[in-house]
Symmetry: C2
Subunit: 278 residues, 2 copies
Protein backbone atom coordinates (compact mmCIF):
# COMPACT_ATOMS: atom_id res chain seq x y z
CA UNK A 1 0.00 0.00 0.00
CA UNK A 2 2.96 2.34 0.53
CA UNK A 3 4.31 1.69 -2.96
CA UNK A 4 3.25 4.99 -4.49
CA UNK A 5 5.22 7.27 -6.81
CA UNK A 6 4.65 9.80 -9.53
CA UNK A 7 6.96 10.01 -12.55
CA UNK A 8 6.52 12.18 -15.62
CA UNK A 9 2.83 12.59 -14.89
CA UNK A 10 2.34 8.83 -15.09
CA UNK A 11 0.79 8.12 -11.72
CA UNK A 12 1.26 4.66 -10.22
CA UNK A 13 -0.47 3.38 -7.11
CA UNK A 14 -1.28 0.03 -5.65
CA UNK A 15 -4.93 0.04 -4.78
CA UNK A 16 -7.97 -2.19 -5.04
CA UNK A 17 -10.75 -1.45 -7.50
CA UNK A 18 -14.14 -3.13 -7.58
CA UNK A 19 -15.21 -3.23 -11.24
CA UNK A 20 -18.85 -4.16 -11.85
CA UNK A 21 -19.83 -5.44 -15.27
CA UNK A 22 -22.80 -6.77 -17.24
CA UNK A 23 -26.52 -6.37 -16.53
CA UNK A 24 -28.61 -7.43 -13.54
CA UNK A 25 -31.95 -9.23 -13.92
CA UNK A 26 -35.27 -8.66 -12.17
CA UNK A 27 -37.45 -11.79 -11.70
CA UNK A 28 -41.15 -11.29 -12.47
CA UNK A 29 -42.41 -14.47 -10.75
CA UNK A 30 -41.44 -16.14 -7.46
CA UNK A 31 -40.90 -19.43 -9.29
CA UNK A 32 -39.12 -17.51 -11.96
CA UNK A 33 -39.84 -18.19 -15.61
CA UNK A 34 -39.77 -14.58 -16.83
CA UNK A 35 -37.44 -11.75 -15.89
CA UNK A 36 -36.43 -8.29 -17.05
CA UNK A 37 -32.86 -7.99 -18.24
CA UNK A 38 -30.57 -5.10 -19.13
CA UNK A 39 -28.65 -5.01 -22.36
CA UNK A 40 -24.94 -5.25 -21.52
CA UNK A 41 -22.25 -7.47 -22.98
CA UNK A 42 -19.87 -6.71 -20.12
CA UNK A 43 -17.22 -5.66 -22.60
CA UNK A 44 -16.55 -2.30 -20.90
CA UNK A 45 -16.04 -3.92 -17.50
CA UNK A 46 -13.81 -6.66 -18.91
CA UNK A 47 -11.65 -4.18 -20.85
CA UNK A 48 -11.41 -1.85 -17.86
CA UNK A 49 -10.34 -4.72 -15.61
CA UNK A 50 -7.41 -5.35 -17.95
CA UNK A 51 -6.33 -1.69 -17.93
CA UNK A 52 -6.66 -1.40 -14.14
CA UNK A 53 -4.76 -4.62 -13.65
CA UNK A 54 -1.34 -4.80 -12.15
CA UNK A 55 -0.44 -7.13 -15.06
CA UNK A 56 -0.80 -4.46 -17.70
CA UNK A 57 -0.29 -0.97 -16.41
CA UNK A 58 -2.16 0.64 -13.59
CA UNK A 59 -1.16 -1.49 -10.66
CA UNK A 60 -4.55 -2.29 -9.16
CA UNK A 61 -5.86 -5.52 -7.75
CA UNK A 62 -9.32 -5.95 -9.26
CA UNK A 63 -12.50 -7.42 -7.79
CA UNK A 64 -14.45 -8.20 -10.95
CA UNK A 65 -18.15 -8.39 -10.05
CA UNK A 66 -19.76 -9.64 -13.25
CA UNK A 67 -22.94 -11.04 -14.71
CA UNK A 68 -22.71 -14.82 -15.18
CA UNK A 69 -21.82 -15.58 -18.79
CA UNK A 70 -20.82 -11.99 -19.66
CA UNK A 71 -17.54 -10.92 -21.28
CA UNK A 72 -14.43 -11.77 -19.25
CA UNK A 73 -11.09 -9.93 -18.99
CA UNK A 74 -8.33 -11.22 -21.31
CA UNK A 75 -10.96 -13.03 -23.45
CA UNK A 76 -12.45 -10.04 -25.24
CA UNK A 77 -11.03 -10.92 -28.64
CA UNK A 78 -12.15 -14.50 -28.61
CA UNK A 79 -15.26 -15.24 -30.70
CA UNK A 80 -18.57 -14.70 -28.92
CA UNK A 81 -20.27 -17.83 -30.07
CA UNK A 82 -20.01 -21.29 -28.54
CA UNK A 83 -16.49 -22.61 -28.51
CA UNK A 84 -17.20 -25.16 -31.15
CA UNK A 85 -17.48 -22.44 -33.73
CA UNK A 86 -14.30 -20.98 -32.35
CA UNK A 87 -12.39 -24.20 -32.73
CA UNK A 88 -12.79 -24.08 -36.47
CA UNK A 89 -10.02 -21.48 -36.72
CA UNK A 90 -7.68 -23.66 -34.75
CA UNK A 91 -4.17 -22.30 -34.78
CA UNK A 92 -4.49 -18.57 -34.12
CA UNK A 93 -7.29 -19.12 -31.65
CA UNK A 94 -5.36 -21.73 -29.72
CA UNK A 95 -2.58 -19.21 -29.21
CA UNK A 96 -5.11 -16.57 -28.15
CA UNK A 97 -6.74 -18.95 -25.69
CA UNK A 98 -3.39 -19.98 -24.24
CA UNK A 99 -2.40 -16.34 -23.79
CA UNK A 100 -5.74 -15.37 -22.28
CA UNK A 101 -5.58 -18.38 -19.98
CA UNK A 102 -2.05 -17.51 -18.91
CA UNK A 103 -2.98 -13.90 -18.07
CA UNK A 104 -6.10 -14.95 -16.16
CA UNK A 105 -4.16 -17.55 -14.19
CA UNK A 106 -1.38 -15.10 -13.40
CA UNK A 107 -3.89 -12.55 -12.19
CA UNK A 108 -6.08 -14.93 -10.19
CA UNK A 109 -3.25 -16.99 -8.69
CA UNK A 110 -1.24 -13.84 -7.94
CA UNK A 111 -4.15 -12.49 -5.91
CA UNK A 112 -4.70 -9.56 -8.29
CA UNK A 113 -8.04 -10.66 -9.69
CA UNK A 114 -11.06 -11.95 -7.82
CA UNK A 115 -14.07 -12.85 -9.95
CA UNK A 116 -17.52 -12.75 -8.31
CA UNK A 117 -20.57 -13.59 -10.48
CA UNK A 118 -24.17 -12.37 -10.14
CA UNK A 119 -27.43 -12.76 -12.04
CA UNK A 120 -30.28 -10.96 -10.23
CA UNK A 121 -30.34 -7.42 -8.84
CA UNK A 122 -30.68 -8.99 -5.38
CA UNK A 123 -27.42 -10.93 -5.69
CA UNK A 124 -25.69 -7.84 -7.10
CA UNK A 125 -26.69 -5.58 -4.21
CA UNK A 126 -25.62 -8.16 -1.64
CA UNK A 127 -22.23 -8.66 -3.28
CA UNK A 128 -21.58 -4.90 -3.49
CA UNK A 129 -22.43 -4.50 0.19
CA UNK A 130 -20.02 -7.28 1.20
CA UNK A 131 -17.24 -5.98 -1.07
CA UNK A 132 -17.74 -2.37 0.01
CA UNK A 133 -17.71 -3.04 3.73
CA UNK A 134 -14.62 -5.27 3.22
CA UNK A 135 -12.83 -2.54 1.24
CA UNK A 136 -13.73 0.25 3.66
CA UNK A 137 -10.56 -0.55 5.67
CA UNK A 138 -8.50 0.66 2.68
CA UNK A 139 -10.04 4.12 3.02
CA UNK A 140 -9.32 6.31 -0.01
CA UNK A 141 -7.16 3.63 -1.69
CA UNK A 142 -10.30 1.65 -2.49
CA UNK A 143 -12.10 2.44 -5.74
CA UNK A 144 -15.51 1.54 -7.14
CA UNK A 145 -15.91 1.54 -10.92
CA UNK A 146 -19.58 0.75 -11.36
CA UNK A 147 -19.99 -0.09 -15.05
CA UNK A 148 -22.72 -2.73 -14.57
CA UNK A 149 -26.15 -2.02 -16.04
CA UNK A 150 -28.13 -2.18 -12.81
CA UNK A 151 -31.93 -2.55 -12.95
CA UNK A 152 -33.79 0.61 -11.95
CA UNK A 153 -37.10 -1.15 -11.31
CA UNK A 154 -38.02 -4.41 -9.62
CA UNK A 155 -41.02 -6.35 -8.39
CA UNK A 156 -40.99 -6.72 -4.58
CA UNK A 157 -41.22 -10.35 -3.46
CA UNK A 158 -44.64 -9.86 -1.82
CA UNK A 159 -46.12 -8.39 -5.02
CA UNK A 160 -44.62 -11.06 -7.26
CA UNK A 161 -46.87 -13.65 -8.90
CA UNK A 162 -46.24 -16.96 -7.14
CA UNK A 163 -46.63 -19.00 -10.34
CA UNK A 164 -46.00 -18.38 -14.01
CA UNK A 165 -48.20 -15.48 -15.17
CA UNK A 166 -51.04 -16.82 -17.37
CA UNK A 167 -51.47 -15.39 -20.84
CA UNK A 168 -55.17 -16.18 -21.29
CA UNK A 169 -56.51 -13.27 -19.30
CA UNK A 170 -55.82 -10.45 -21.79
CA UNK A 171 -53.12 -7.79 -21.48
CA UNK A 172 -50.70 -7.85 -18.56
CA UNK A 173 -50.43 -4.81 -16.31
CA UNK A 174 -47.32 -4.61 -14.20
CA UNK A 175 -46.26 -2.08 -11.58
CA UNK A 176 -42.54 -2.00 -10.98
CA UNK A 177 -41.01 -0.36 -7.92
CA UNK A 178 -37.81 1.71 -8.01
CA UNK A 179 -34.70 -0.11 -6.83
CA UNK A 180 -33.26 1.72 -3.77
CA UNK A 181 -30.36 3.92 -4.86
CA UNK A 182 -27.38 1.84 -3.85
CA UNK A 183 -24.89 4.60 -4.78
CA UNK A 184 -26.08 6.80 -1.93
CA UNK A 185 -25.73 4.02 0.69
CA UNK A 186 -22.33 3.04 -0.72
CA UNK A 187 -21.05 6.61 -0.21
CA UNK A 188 -22.62 7.30 3.16
CA UNK A 189 -22.48 3.91 4.91
CA UNK A 190 -20.61 1.08 3.26
CA UNK A 191 -17.34 2.67 2.07
CA UNK A 192 -17.53 6.42 2.69
CA UNK A 193 -13.84 7.09 1.95
CA UNK A 194 -13.57 5.09 -1.27
CA UNK A 195 -13.18 6.81 -4.65
CA UNK A 196 -16.42 6.23 -6.54
CA UNK A 197 -16.97 6.22 -10.30
CA UNK A 198 -20.42 5.50 -11.66
CA UNK A 199 -21.76 5.30 -15.22
CA UNK A 200 -24.71 7.02 -16.84
CA UNK A 201 -25.98 5.48 -20.05
CA UNK A 202 -28.69 7.25 -22.02
CA UNK A 203 -30.12 6.79 -25.50
CA UNK A 204 -31.04 10.47 -25.78
CA UNK A 205 -27.93 12.66 -26.18
CA UNK A 206 -29.85 15.79 -25.20
CA UNK A 207 -30.38 14.73 -21.58
CA UNK A 208 -27.15 12.75 -21.09
CA UNK A 209 -24.89 15.40 -19.54
CA UNK A 210 -27.64 16.84 -17.41
CA UNK A 211 -28.37 13.34 -16.03
CA UNK A 212 -24.68 12.70 -15.40
CA UNK A 213 -24.23 16.01 -13.53
CA UNK A 214 -27.33 15.35 -11.51
CA UNK A 215 -26.02 11.89 -10.48
CA UNK A 216 -22.62 13.42 -9.57
CA UNK A 217 -24.25 15.82 -7.10
CA UNK A 218 -27.05 13.60 -5.84
CA UNK A 219 -24.91 10.58 -5.01
CA UNK A 220 -21.66 12.46 -4.31
CA UNK A 221 -19.77 10.47 -6.92
CA UNK A 222 -16.17 11.49 -7.63
CA UNK A 223 -16.63 10.89 -11.35
CA UNK A 224 -19.67 10.02 -13.46
CA UNK A 225 -18.83 8.55 -16.86
CA UNK A 226 -21.51 9.65 -19.33
CA UNK A 227 -22.08 7.49 -22.39
CA UNK A 228 -24.69 7.22 -25.09
CA UNK A 229 -26.00 3.91 -26.39
CA UNK A 230 -25.22 4.71 -30.03
CA UNK A 231 -21.58 5.71 -29.41
CA UNK A 232 -20.55 4.13 -26.07
CA UNK A 233 -17.85 1.99 -27.64
CA UNK A 234 -15.93 4.94 -29.06
CA UNK A 235 -16.70 7.94 -26.81
CA UNK A 236 -17.30 8.70 -23.14
CA UNK A 237 -17.35 11.92 -21.12
CA UNK A 238 -15.83 11.91 -17.63
CA UNK A 239 -17.86 14.36 -15.53
CA UNK A 240 -16.46 15.53 -12.19
CA UNK A 241 -16.47 18.67 -10.05
CA UNK A 242 -13.30 19.70 -11.98
CA UNK A 243 -15.27 19.77 -15.24
CA UNK A 244 -15.97 17.51 -18.18
CA UNK A 245 -13.35 15.59 -20.14
CA UNK A 246 -14.35 13.98 -23.41
CA UNK A 247 -12.48 10.81 -24.35
CA UNK A 248 -12.64 9.31 -27.83
CA UNK A 249 -10.85 6.26 -29.05
CA UNK A 250 -8.03 7.26 -31.33
CA UNK A 251 -7.95 4.38 -33.76
CA UNK A 252 -10.13 1.45 -34.78
CA UNK A 253 -8.02 -0.96 -32.70
CA UNK A 254 -7.79 1.21 -29.60
CA UNK A 255 -9.97 0.80 -26.50
CA UNK A 256 -11.63 3.93 -25.17
CA UNK A 257 -11.17 2.30 -21.74
CA UNK A 258 -7.39 2.68 -21.95
CA UNK A 259 -7.50 6.49 -21.79
CA UNK A 260 -10.45 6.50 -19.43
CA UNK A 261 -8.67 4.31 -16.86
CA UNK A 262 -5.50 6.41 -17.18
CA UNK A 263 -7.51 9.53 -16.36
CA UNK A 264 -9.34 7.87 -13.46
CA UNK A 265 -6.09 6.52 -11.98
CA UNK A 266 -4.67 10.05 -12.04
CA UNK A 267 -7.77 11.41 -10.37
CA UNK A 268 -7.71 8.61 -7.81
CA UNK A 269 -4.06 9.33 -6.99
CA UNK A 270 -4.81 13.03 -6.48
CA UNK A 271 -7.71 12.01 -4.24
CA UNK A 272 -5.43 9.77 -2.14
CA UNK A 273 -2.94 12.67 -1.83
CA UNK A 274 -5.70 15.07 -0.80
CA UNK A 275 -6.81 12.60 1.87
CA UNK A 276 -3.25 12.76 3.26
CA UNK A 277 -2.34 9.19 2.38
CA UNK A 278 -0.14 9.78 -0.67
CA UNK B 1 -38.32 -39.18 -48.73
CA UNK B 2 -39.43 -42.64 -49.86
CA UNK B 3 -37.01 -44.37 -47.52
CA UNK B 4 -39.54 -45.50 -44.92
CA UNK B 5 -39.83 -48.86 -43.20
CA UNK B 6 -41.12 -50.37 -39.98
CA UNK B 7 -39.27 -53.21 -38.30
CA UNK B 8 -40.01 -54.74 -34.90
CA UNK B 9 -41.92 -51.65 -33.84
CA UNK B 10 -38.81 -49.52 -34.36
CA UNK B 11 -40.11 -46.99 -36.83
CA UNK B 12 -37.64 -45.24 -39.12
CA UNK B 13 -38.43 -42.38 -41.42
CA UNK B 14 -36.51 -39.70 -43.15
CA UNK B 15 -38.25 -36.45 -42.39
CA UNK B 16 -37.42 -32.91 -41.44
CA UNK B 17 -38.09 -31.57 -37.96
CA UNK B 18 -37.91 -27.93 -36.92
CA UNK B 19 -36.76 -27.91 -33.28
CA UNK B 20 -37.10 -24.56 -31.48
CA UNK B 21 -35.00 -23.99 -28.38
CA UNK B 22 -34.22 -21.36 -25.75
CA UNK B 23 -36.22 -18.27 -24.77
CA UNK B 24 -37.32 -15.27 -26.81
CA UNK B 25 -36.88 -11.69 -25.56
CA UNK B 26 -39.29 -8.75 -25.61
CA UNK B 27 -37.69 -5.28 -25.91
CA UNK B 28 -39.18 -2.62 -23.60
CA UNK B 29 -37.69 0.39 -25.40
CA UNK B 30 -37.27 1.23 -29.11
CA UNK B 31 -33.58 1.92 -28.53
CA UNK B 32 -33.44 -1.15 -26.43
CA UNK B 33 -31.67 -1.12 -23.08
CA UNK B 34 -34.17 -3.26 -21.13
CA UNK B 35 -36.04 -6.36 -22.22
CA UNK B 36 -38.09 -9.19 -20.76
CA UNK B 37 -36.51 -12.60 -21.08
CA UNK B 38 -37.71 -16.16 -20.51
CA UNK B 39 -35.77 -18.61 -18.42
CA UNK B 40 -34.53 -21.38 -20.74
CA UNK B 41 -31.10 -22.92 -21.10
CA UNK B 42 -32.01 -24.55 -24.39
CA UNK B 43 -30.89 -27.90 -23.05
CA UNK B 44 -34.11 -29.70 -24.01
CA UNK B 45 -33.97 -28.46 -27.61
CA UNK B 46 -30.28 -29.33 -27.93
CA UNK B 47 -30.77 -32.83 -26.49
CA UNK B 48 -33.83 -33.43 -28.67
CA UNK B 49 -31.94 -32.35 -31.78
CA UNK B 50 -29.38 -35.06 -31.06
CA UNK B 51 -32.05 -37.76 -30.64
CA UNK B 52 -33.92 -36.68 -33.77
CA UNK B 53 -30.73 -36.55 -35.75
CA UNK B 54 -29.88 -38.93 -38.50
CA UNK B 55 -26.45 -39.27 -36.87
CA UNK B 56 -27.74 -40.95 -33.74
CA UNK B 57 -30.99 -42.78 -34.25
CA UNK B 58 -34.18 -41.30 -35.57
CA UNK B 59 -33.20 -40.32 -39.08
CA UNK B 60 -34.40 -36.74 -39.23
CA UNK B 61 -32.75 -33.71 -40.72
CA UNK B 62 -33.08 -30.98 -38.08
CA UNK B 63 -33.63 -27.24 -38.44
CA UNK B 64 -32.44 -26.03 -35.04
CA UNK B 65 -34.03 -22.62 -34.38
CA UNK B 66 -32.28 -21.48 -31.21
CA UNK B 67 -31.70 -18.50 -28.96
CA UNK B 68 -28.28 -16.96 -29.56
CA UNK B 69 -25.84 -18.23 -26.92
CA UNK B 70 -28.12 -21.04 -25.70
CA UNK B 71 -27.15 -24.70 -25.34
CA UNK B 72 -26.10 -26.38 -28.61
CA UNK B 73 -26.48 -30.00 -29.75
CA UNK B 74 -23.45 -32.24 -29.13
CA UNK B 75 -22.07 -29.71 -26.62
CA UNK B 76 -24.41 -30.38 -23.70
CA UNK B 77 -21.77 -31.98 -21.51
CA UNK B 78 -19.20 -29.28 -21.92
CA UNK B 79 -18.89 -26.83 -19.01
CA UNK B 80 -21.29 -23.88 -19.13
CA UNK B 81 -18.81 -21.23 -18.16
CA UNK B 82 -16.44 -19.38 -20.44
CA UNK B 83 -14.05 -21.65 -22.23
CA UNK B 84 -11.10 -20.50 -20.23
CA UNK B 85 -12.46 -22.23 -17.16
CA UNK B 86 -13.04 -25.25 -19.31
CA UNK B 87 -9.48 -25.37 -20.51
CA UNK B 88 -8.21 -26.01 -17.02
CA UNK B 89 -9.30 -29.67 -17.26
CA UNK B 90 -7.41 -30.08 -20.47
CA UNK B 91 -7.23 -33.67 -21.58
CA UNK B 92 -10.74 -35.08 -21.13
CA UNK B 93 -12.30 -31.84 -22.30
CA UNK B 94 -10.17 -31.68 -25.40
CA UNK B 95 -11.44 -35.11 -26.39
CA UNK B 96 -15.02 -34.03 -25.67
CA UNK B 97 -14.62 -30.88 -27.76
CA UNK B 98 -13.09 -32.80 -30.64
CA UNK B 99 -15.94 -35.31 -30.59
CA UNK B 100 -18.61 -32.63 -30.33
CA UNK B 101 -16.94 -30.69 -33.13
CA UNK B 102 -16.79 -33.79 -35.30
CA UNK B 103 -20.49 -34.57 -34.80
CA UNK B 104 -21.55 -30.99 -35.45
CA UNK B 105 -19.44 -30.81 -38.60
CA UNK B 106 -20.77 -34.14 -39.86
CA UNK B 107 -24.35 -33.00 -39.29
CA UNK B 108 -23.97 -29.50 -40.74
CA UNK B 109 -21.80 -30.48 -43.69
CA UNK B 110 -23.99 -33.50 -44.41
CA UNK B 111 -27.01 -31.23 -44.69
CA UNK B 112 -28.73 -32.83 -41.68
CA UNK B 113 -28.48 -29.86 -39.34
CA UNK B 114 -29.28 -26.22 -40.09
CA UNK B 115 -28.80 -23.80 -37.20
CA UNK B 116 -30.83 -20.58 -37.22
CA UNK B 117 -30.38 -18.17 -34.27
CA UNK B 118 -32.89 -15.69 -32.80
CA UNK B 119 -33.00 -13.25 -29.90
CA UNK B 120 -36.30 -11.31 -29.89
CA UNK B 121 -39.85 -12.65 -30.24
CA UNK B 122 -40.05 -10.72 -33.54
CA UNK B 123 -37.09 -12.56 -35.06
CA UNK B 124 -38.46 -15.88 -33.76
CA UNK B 125 -41.88 -15.43 -35.37
CA UNK B 126 -40.36 -14.40 -38.69
CA UNK B 127 -38.02 -17.40 -38.74
CA UNK B 128 -40.84 -19.84 -37.92
CA UNK B 129 -42.97 -18.40 -40.72
CA UNK B 130 -40.16 -18.80 -43.25
CA UNK B 131 -39.29 -22.33 -42.08
CA UNK B 132 -42.94 -23.40 -41.95
CA UNK B 133 -43.85 -22.16 -45.41
CA UNK B 134 -40.64 -23.78 -46.74
CA UNK B 135 -41.46 -27.12 -45.07
CA UNK B 136 -45.09 -27.13 -46.17
CA UNK B 137 -44.06 -28.86 -49.43
CA UNK B 138 -43.10 -31.92 -47.32
CA UNK B 139 -46.69 -32.26 -46.17
CA UNK B 140 -47.06 -34.69 -43.25
CA UNK B 141 -43.34 -35.60 -43.32
CA UNK B 142 -42.52 -32.21 -41.80
CA UNK B 143 -42.54 -31.91 -38.02
CA UNK B 144 -42.50 -28.97 -35.62
CA UNK B 145 -41.14 -29.58 -32.14
CA UNK B 146 -41.66 -26.26 -30.44
CA UNK B 147 -39.63 -26.43 -27.24
CA UNK B 148 -38.63 -22.74 -27.17
CA UNK B 149 -39.91 -20.60 -24.31
CA UNK B 150 -41.80 -18.04 -26.37
CA UNK B 151 -42.84 -14.73 -24.80
CA UNK B 152 -46.60 -14.50 -24.14
CA UNK B 153 -46.59 -10.71 -23.79
CA UNK B 154 -44.91 -7.92 -25.70
CA UNK B 155 -44.91 -4.16 -26.04
CA UNK B 156 -46.15 -3.07 -29.50
CA UNK B 157 -43.66 -0.81 -31.29
CA UNK B 158 -45.99 2.20 -31.21
CA UNK B 159 -46.47 1.92 -27.43
CA UNK B 160 -42.78 1.44 -26.75
CA UNK B 161 -40.78 4.18 -25.02
CA UNK B 162 -38.52 5.69 -27.65
CA UNK B 163 -35.65 6.22 -25.20
CA UNK B 164 -34.45 4.52 -22.07
CA UNK B 165 -37.21 4.66 -19.44
CA UNK B 166 -36.25 7.13 -16.69
CA UNK B 167 -36.19 5.96 -13.11
CA UNK B 168 -36.73 9.31 -11.40
CA UNK B 169 -40.47 9.49 -11.90
CA UNK B 170 -41.54 6.92 -9.29
CA UNK B 171 -42.91 3.43 -10.00
CA UNK B 172 -43.12 2.16 -13.55
CA UNK B 173 -46.48 1.00 -14.89
CA UNK B 174 -46.34 -1.19 -17.98
CA UNK B 175 -49.13 -2.65 -20.08
CA UNK B 176 -48.05 -5.67 -22.09
CA UNK B 177 -50.10 -6.99 -24.99
CA UNK B 178 -50.60 -10.70 -25.71
CA UNK B 179 -48.38 -12.11 -28.45
CA UNK B 180 -50.61 -13.43 -31.29
CA UNK B 181 -50.94 -17.20 -30.98
CA UNK B 182 -48.49 -18.41 -33.61
CA UNK B 183 -49.50 -22.07 -33.13
CA UNK B 184 -52.93 -21.43 -34.63
CA UNK B 185 -51.52 -19.71 -37.74
CA UNK B 186 -48.87 -22.42 -38.13
CA UNK B 187 -51.59 -25.12 -38.23
CA UNK B 188 -54.10 -23.30 -40.39
CA UNK B 189 -51.93 -21.30 -42.81
CA UNK B 190 -48.19 -21.89 -42.79
CA UNK B 191 -47.83 -25.68 -42.70
CA UNK B 192 -51.29 -27.23 -42.27
CA UNK B 193 -50.18 -30.83 -42.97
CA UNK B 194 -47.10 -30.88 -40.71
CA UNK B 195 -47.04 -32.88 -37.49
CA UNK B 196 -47.00 -30.37 -34.64
CA UNK B 197 -45.69 -30.85 -31.10
CA UNK B 198 -45.82 -27.95 -28.67
CA UNK B 199 -44.73 -27.65 -25.05
CA UNK B 200 -46.60 -26.44 -22.01
CA UNK B 201 -44.49 -25.41 -19.03
CA UNK B 202 -46.18 -24.52 -15.76
CA UNK B 203 -44.93 -23.98 -12.22
CA UNK B 204 -48.24 -25.09 -10.71
CA UNK B 205 -48.76 -28.87 -11.10
CA UNK B 206 -52.50 -28.55 -10.43
CA UNK B 207 -53.25 -26.68 -13.65
CA UNK B 208 -50.60 -28.29 -15.87
CA UNK B 209 -52.60 -31.09 -17.53
CA UNK B 210 -55.69 -28.95 -17.93
CA UNK B 211 -53.58 -26.29 -19.69
CA UNK B 212 -51.93 -28.90 -21.92
CA UNK B 213 -55.29 -30.42 -22.93
CA UNK B 214 -56.70 -27.01 -23.61
CA UNK B 215 -53.73 -26.14 -25.89
CA UNK B 216 -54.11 -29.49 -27.70
CA UNK B 217 -57.73 -28.69 -28.64
CA UNK B 218 -57.40 -24.95 -29.13
CA UNK B 219 -54.41 -25.03 -31.47
CA UNK B 220 -55.06 -28.49 -32.97
CA UNK B 221 -51.65 -29.76 -31.92
CA UNK B 222 -50.89 -33.43 -32.51
CA UNK B 223 -49.05 -33.69 -29.20
CA UNK B 224 -48.60 -31.26 -26.31
CA UNK B 225 -45.70 -32.09 -24.02
CA UNK B 226 -46.62 -31.02 -20.48
CA UNK B 227 -43.79 -30.25 -18.08
CA UNK B 228 -43.45 -28.63 -14.69
CA UNK B 229 -40.65 -26.23 -13.83
CA UNK B 230 -39.56 -28.18 -10.74
CA UNK B 231 -39.29 -31.56 -12.52
CA UNK B 232 -38.93 -30.81 -16.26
CA UNK B 233 -35.51 -32.40 -16.49
CA UNK B 234 -36.70 -35.82 -15.32
CA UNK B 235 -40.40 -36.07 -16.25
CA UNK B 236 -42.74 -35.02 -19.07
CA UNK B 237 -46.26 -36.05 -20.06
CA UNK B 238 -47.08 -36.44 -23.75
CA UNK B 239 -50.73 -35.41 -24.18
CA UNK B 240 -52.54 -36.32 -27.42
CA UNK B 241 -56.04 -37.32 -28.52
CA UNK B 242 -54.95 -40.96 -27.86
CA UNK B 243 -54.42 -40.16 -24.18
CA UNK B 244 -51.59 -39.20 -21.85
CA UNK B 245 -48.24 -40.96 -21.66
CA UNK B 246 -45.95 -40.13 -18.75
CA UNK B 247 -42.22 -40.39 -19.45
CA UNK B 248 -39.63 -40.38 -16.68
CA UNK B 249 -35.93 -40.69 -17.09
CA UNK B 250 -34.81 -44.09 -15.95
CA UNK B 251 -31.38 -43.38 -14.55
CA UNK B 252 -29.32 -40.39 -13.48
CA UNK B 253 -27.35 -40.45 -16.73
CA UNK B 254 -30.34 -40.91 -19.05
CA UNK B 255 -32.04 -38.11 -20.99
CA UNK B 256 -35.82 -37.90 -20.73
CA UNK B 257 -35.65 -36.64 -24.35
CA UNK B 258 -34.48 -40.05 -25.61
CA UNK B 259 -37.78 -41.79 -24.77
CA UNK B 260 -39.83 -38.73 -25.66
CA UNK B 261 -38.37 -38.49 -29.17
CA UNK B 262 -38.82 -42.25 -29.66
CA UNK B 263 -42.52 -41.90 -28.83
CA UNK B 264 -42.95 -38.82 -31.03
CA UNK B 265 -41.21 -40.48 -33.98
CA UNK B 266 -43.62 -43.43 -33.65
CA UNK B 267 -46.59 -41.08 -33.55
CA UNK B 268 -45.24 -39.13 -36.50
CA UNK B 269 -44.83 -42.32 -38.54
CA UNK B 270 -48.40 -43.37 -37.77
CA UNK B 271 -49.53 -39.90 -38.81
CA UNK B 272 -47.66 -40.18 -42.14
CA UNK B 273 -49.28 -43.59 -42.72
CA UNK B 274 -52.74 -42.21 -41.93
CA UNK B 275 -52.13 -39.40 -44.41
CA UNK B 276 -51.50 -42.11 -47.03
CA UNK B 277 -47.82 -41.32 -47.50
CA UNK B 278 -46.29 -44.22 -45.56
Amino acid sequence: MENYNRQNGNAKSVGVVCVTSGGTTVPLEQRCVRYIDNFSSGNRGAASTEYFSILISSGYAVIFVHRRGSCQPYCRYLPEDSFLEFFEVLNDSEIQVSFAQLLTKLAVNGGFLLKLPFTTIFEYLQIIQVVATSLSCLGPRGMFYLAAAVSDFYVPWENMAKHKIQSAAGPLDMRLTQVPKMLRILRTDWAPSAFCVSFKLETDSEILLQKAESALRKYQMHVVVANELATYKREVIAVSLDGKISIRKQSEDADVEEQLIKLLVEKHNKYIECCGMG
